[in-house]
């Protein structure tokens, strides 16, 4: 029983961190229909900015997060304007090529500017160290990440399903030309969603840095993880992504606890099993 709870807590924490980092990708892939392999690159940029702000400038953690999110968005705006705008609605493979190219560039530049070493984002004392939760201890920053995950999930779900911006976004994605013909300023809608996705990436990059530390290769290293999580959930579905993250987090954690030497098999066989039952992802949007 003890073990069960223990695994449960780890799974929840890991799943939520995955969720916070990947959800932005769910927005770009599911809603904007762009296979954005550069998602990790934006998360990484966020991490670098936060690291610089908190470690080198000594700013407060919260402020560093804000600066990281805004900074990443500012960097992303010209990319959206000159590169991404060209691939909205393009064949998926073209998008893959473009966003891989962007990722390569970002990796190369990060390597050049910051060097290949790891960068830390110092945590405030409140988030450091273990917290006793009765039957075991858990890192405080993991609890923080769980909280962030819940907030992001609720906020995003509301924005997309319940606001007029959400409706316009989904309409633009379904059929850009028609949405425009009905008066939706699709370019602005796209730019705003892109900024949202990038901002989420940066936020996730900072929050998750304790588990996925920031370094130049970050941009590619975790790409597969993000892709798997988002697709298993069904791209574009916030609840889907949440369930997928928790489920995959649980599978991964359990596997690594019970059969670490077959952890990889355990995880990917589970992924195959899930997709076998849900061939379009857990909550795939109708196309």
């Amino acid at each position: 029983m003890q073990t069960f709870f223990s695994i449960g807590v780890d799974a929840l924490a890991y799943g939520m961190i995955l969720f916070v980092i990947s959800i932005g990708l769910s927005v770009t892939m599911g809603l904007m229909r762009v296979i954005n392999l550069a998602h990790g690159a934006f998360a990484m940029i966020g991490g670098y900015i936060a690291s610089y702000a908190a470690r080198d400038l000594g700013l407060a953690y919260g402020l560093a997060i804000v600066i990281a999110v805004l900074g990443t968005i500012i960097i992303a705006v010209p990319l959206e304007r000159f590169l991404y705008r060209r691939i909205y609605g393009a064949p998926e493979l073209t998008q893959v090529l473009m966003t891989i190219g962007i990722t390569f560039c970002v990796i190369g530049l990060a390597n050049y500017v910051f060097g290949p070493t790891l960068k830390t984002i110092p945590l405030p004392t409140g988030l450091q160290g273990p917290v006793d939760i009765g039957f075991r201890t858990i890192a405080a920053h993991k609890l923080f990440a769980i909280g962030c995950g819940v907030v992001v999930a609720l906020g995003l779900w509301y924005l997309i399903e319940r606001t007029s911006f959400g409706v316009k976004l989904r309409a633009s994605v379904d059929n850009t030309a028609m949405a425009a013909a009905l008066g939706v300023r699709t370019k602005i809608v796209y730019a705003a969603s892109f900024a949202l996705a990038v901002g989420l990436a940066a936020f996730g990059g900072v929050i998750g840095a304790e588990l996925l530390p920031v370094e130049p290769y970050y941009a590619l290293r975790y790409m597969v993880t993000f892709l798997v999580v988002v697709s298993v959930g069904g791209a574009g579905s916030i609840p889907g992504a949440l369930i997928a993250c928790l489920l995959l987090g649980a599978i991964d954690t359990t596997g690594r606890y019970l059969v670490p030497e077959y952890g990889e098999f355990f995880f990917y066989l589970a992924v195959i099993a899930i997709v076998w039952v849900f061939p379009r992802g857990l909550m795939g949007r109708a196309k």
């Binding site: 590169l83 990796i107 061939p279 795939g284």
Partner: protein, 332 residues
């Protein structure tokens, strides 16, 4: 009228074959030119040939059938390991036999991949392919008894080809052997893609529901194509094992799969020439810039990929073909 139809059909028919002959001739000329222009770099060209076979094989399922996959190296790596294990552990060192064993290994991997991957749709399909490549990779890592695990499978020493041509330091034998294999595969694939079966596959890529409404089995057709694709990739993998004499886990890696996809898209999906050109362009440019600046070449490659999307959105070959077509239409 019906007679007229078949008459008008003939020229197009001939034109197609003429174009193929020109294409094959072009490959031969390029191969010979490569041999004499870069006599000191045949190893690179040889590696290119192995990758071309992988990319061609990927084109069969991605370009012609529309199956998105990031796990195609599973087919390539299986071929490589099949041939490598046969040589290193069972003493089967005759190169042609090794290639055949590799092809069978690739086909088997193709069958497994196909059955699993085709279960999903869209992104889920992509995820299945990722899962497959990781499972294959992990299996090879675990079976280090046979595969050498992460240290690589060494101890492959193929016999001279046909008992005559030894593999040499300059890689001449391997290169010529590779070119012969490549041409053979290319011609067979050319026939395949313009056959009724090839047309059916293209149909499936564009609308599977319509195909099944014609009474054809989508799943079965795709699995067949996957097996064929496995044969081709397996030949590529086996050739890689023969020419490198070592098989590493990288041949079964996600990176390898993703890179193959990038090369394919770079050249232009859905055309065999695109696959060849994409591979040449990518490997060659990578070699060039990484030799010039081993530390920061990734940035340049990234920028080039972006440039290709901006200026040649259909890939290098696809865009060139469109331009030529437009020029021709305009010229008339």
């Amino acid at each position: 009228m019906s007679a007229g139809a078949s008459v008008t059909a003939m020229p197009a028919e001939n034109r197609g074959w003429q174009r193929d002959l020109i294409g094959i001739a072009a490959i031969l000329v390029a191969a010979i030119a490569g041999y004499f222009l870069f006599p000191n770099n045949l190893a690179l060209l040889t590696r290119m040939i192995a990758i071309m076979l992988l990319v061609l094989s990927l084109d069969l399922v991605t370009g012609y059938c529309g199956v998105a996959t990031l796990g195609h190296a599973a087919l390539f790596g299986s071929g490589a390991y099949a041939a490598g294990i046969a040589a290193a552990h069972f003493g089967i060192t005759e190169p042609l036999t090794m290639i055949a064993i590799g092809a069978v290994g690739g086909a088997l991997a193709g069958l497994i991949s196909g059955v699993v991957i085709l279960r999903g749709h869209g992104l889920a399909q992509l995820v299945l392919s990722i899962a497959i490549i990781h499972l294959f990779h992990e299996a090879a890592n675990k079976a280090s008894e046979y595969t050498g695990g992460s240290d690589g499978l060494s101890g492959i020493s193929p016999d001279p080809i046909l008992g005559v041509f030894e593999f040499d330091l300059w890689g001449r034998t391997a290169y010529v052997f590779g070119i012969v294999l490549l041409l053979l595969v290319f011609i067979l694939l050319r026939i395949l893609v313009r056959s009724p079966f090839g047309m059916l596959c293209r149909g499936i890529r564009q609308d599977p529901v319509r195909v099944s409404a014609m009474g054809a089995s989508v799943k079965l057709t795709l699995i067949k194509m996957y097996v064929i694709s496995g044969l081709v990739a397996g030949v590529g993998g086996a050739f890689n094992a023969v020419s490198t004499q070592v098989v590493g886990l990288d041949s079964l890696s996600f990176t390898n799969s993703a890179e193959a996809l990038v090369m394919l898209v770079l050249g232009g999906v859905g055309s065999l020439y695109g696959a060849l050109i994409g591979t040449i362009a990518f490997v060659w440019i990578e070699d060039l810039v990484s030799a010039a600046n081993p530390f920061h070449w990734l940035t340049i490659v990234g920028a080039l990929l972006i440039a290709v999307v901006l200026f040649a959105p259909k890939g290098l070959y696809g865009t060139a073909a469109t331009l030529v077509e437009r020029y021709r239409r305009g010229g008339k």
